[in-house]
Symmetry: C2
Subunit: 368 residues, 2 copies
């Protein structure tokens, strides 16, 4: 049942008459109608019972003579942690697995083909404690760690490609990594976070891992050419651009972003990236409150974190879906026609007019 | 008198209670209150009489120990053409001068120091006719053309820096140029549009002039370090970035953008650029309807264009003003504290974490 929560969507919902709502939607979402997809009765019942915000939309392209529509059904999942952060790590993780499995089951029953989880989905975002112990037990191998093995089974079971943001450990070194798991449970590849928050304070990630060393890979999957721009990388226009130049059609942006930093411009950044680069962007964020007690020599410190969810999908033509809930678990299902990428790029010509050779020279000069 | 017009602002205004409006504002404008500036009674009376949408806001920074606030009062002007487009060109221009002078007089009386006019402000945006004749009479010298000389006088009179987008002609070659006029009526410099719309149809500008050859200059003025990203350049992240790397504090984005192309993402692009680059962005757009009759060998063609105004200012911290009217002439006055640029850049660290040396290499590889 939708609880009354703070959000832009709730602030305007029911307040506007039909004409006003259309005008609001035309500007804010880029189209007058949301183009909702119908969901199964079983989905609605389960989500209602489990207090999961489920929403479903579509972005269709124009009909082409030479190509059929290339439809892909995307699912974005946001979920809060389950157990207190001082419980045994195994138990915390098992409880999250159970919750996420439930949501993936629902997504599968709706035919989702390409599913993305939030940043470091299988743990609390403990980095804010600025401590490595005892959290190191959450790090894992990108090929065979517990959360990866858990998802490999589900991917194979459901013929689904799953994008899984983890904390990777390789030869004792940590990385903020996303693993792309193929529809037969295979590992298609991985990508490491390119840009790390480095401001003083609890959001600093540089004590934990280095900026990624995997460049800007685009992964060929059964359901489209995808890339992942992890969290803070969304502030970096060149990060988005390189994924475009490497031919991505969908770029996922799994995040752990706090309301007091990023919420007001959450709705500008990924949407702007979709427009500028002519691909779909799928941004999703952690949700819920996380409470940490940190034992120090001087006594206990408390760190409280609150994430605002609000995942949405933007199409290359600048249209976007509404956002998921700011406080509840959520599943955003969206059918996209990948042909819309080339159609929009052809119409607007942003790459043709981008003068990249000039910029390559200018940047080279600048960094000298 | 504010007429009832279509706009997102009007769709929500008066519909939300105080709590809802605050929540809407927090997300949509980045702050709960608009922080309005009081205007003179004479300004309100004149603007009411002349049907000019006048709005005024402020963006204050934090207090610093070593630096005083560096306040600059910016004015953005949007205005429709006055005479039909088949009248003598001299008369059309003279009528626009008169209208714009009136608005600049108001801005001066409010103490505006840095004023920007819309793209090709002194003429109808005739490029949509895809004809050069008779419109060549609107082109002019960037140093001594009629619109430049007109503004040089006003700049000197009012101790104002004026940013004037014109069509420049130099040795018979056209350019889409912005002239920066100093507060003593001097010419500080000029910049030529870097990225030209090149899609087939009436929006194509490549038959008229070439992409700019002035790079990414930042102009030191009495009122701050400014740059100009002309119209279509706002779709290009690297264009915004180079102005940042060259140390701009305010980037103006004067436009001639049509509702059926750019209106829905107008509100994402310049705001996103402010966030990503840590400077103020000031986007402004032509407004009103323009009607052209084109004589061809096969008879007369008619071209109708409609611009949506909607200028706004974004601060580096992601907050923004409401938009000017979508249909009326307008003057947006905003006081900004330039110290907010460094304050935000320091807090967020986007440039420190930008890995530009890597991108310089990657781009060089790509363009090979």
């Amino acid at each position: 049942m939708a609880t009354k929560e703070r959000s832009l969507e709730n602030a305007i919902k029911t307040k506007l008459n039909e004409r006003e709502a259309k005008e609001f939607n035309r500007i804010y979402y880029g189209r007058e109608e949301h183009c909702e997809l119908e969901l199964k009765e079983s989905t609605l019942t389960t989500c209602d019972k489990e207090n999961i915000d489920v929403q479903a939309y579509k972005f269709y392209g124009a009909t082409e003579e030479a190509r059929k529509p290339r439809l892909t059904k995307i699912g974005l999942v946001q979920h809060s942690i389950v157990l207190p952060t001082d419980k045994p790590i195994k138990d915390q993780q098992e409880a999250i697995f159970q919750k996420v499995k439930n949501i993936i089951d629902i997504a599968a029953s709706e035919g989702v083909q390409l599913l993305c989880l939030q940043e470091t989905w299988s743990m609390p975002f403990f980095l804010c404690t600025q401590q490595k112990s005892p959290w190191i037990s959450f790090t894992e191998s990108a090929e065979s760690g517990p959360s990866v093995m858990f998802l490999r089974k589900l991917a194979a079971k459901y013929d689904m490609v799953i994008i899984s943001p983890i904390l990777e450990i390789e030869e004792g070194v940590w990385w903020n990594t996303v693993v792309v798991i193929g529809e037969s449970g295979n590992i298609i590849g991985k990508h490491r976070k390119n840009h790390l928050p480095s401001a003083p304070g609890s959001s600093c990630e540089t004590p934990f891992y280095s900026p990624g060393n995997t460049g800007h890979p685009v992964f060929e999957t059964k359901y489209g050419r995808i890339a992942i721009n992890i969290c803070y990388g969304r502030h970096h226009a060149l990060n988005w651009l390189m994924f475009r130049l490497n031919n991505a059609e969908i770029v996922f942006n799994p995040c752990a972003t706090l309301a007091n930093f990023g919420e007001p411009f959450w709705h500008a950044e990924a949407r702007n990236a979709a427009i500028a680069n002519g691909y779909f962007t799928c941004c999703l964020n952690r949700v819920g409150k996380e409470h940490f007690i940190i034992n120090t020599e001087d006594g206990d410190n408390v760190v409280d974190r609150s994430y605002f969810g609000s995942g949405y999908i933007s199409a290359p033509d600048g249209t976007r879906t509404p956002s998921l809930s700011t406080v509840r678990d959520g599943l955003l299902i969206t059918v996209v026609d990948l042909n819309l990428c080339r159609q929009t790029r052809d119409r607007w010509g942003f790459i043709m007019t981008s003068r990249l050779d000039d910029y390559a020279k200018e940047l080279k000069e600048y960094v000298k």
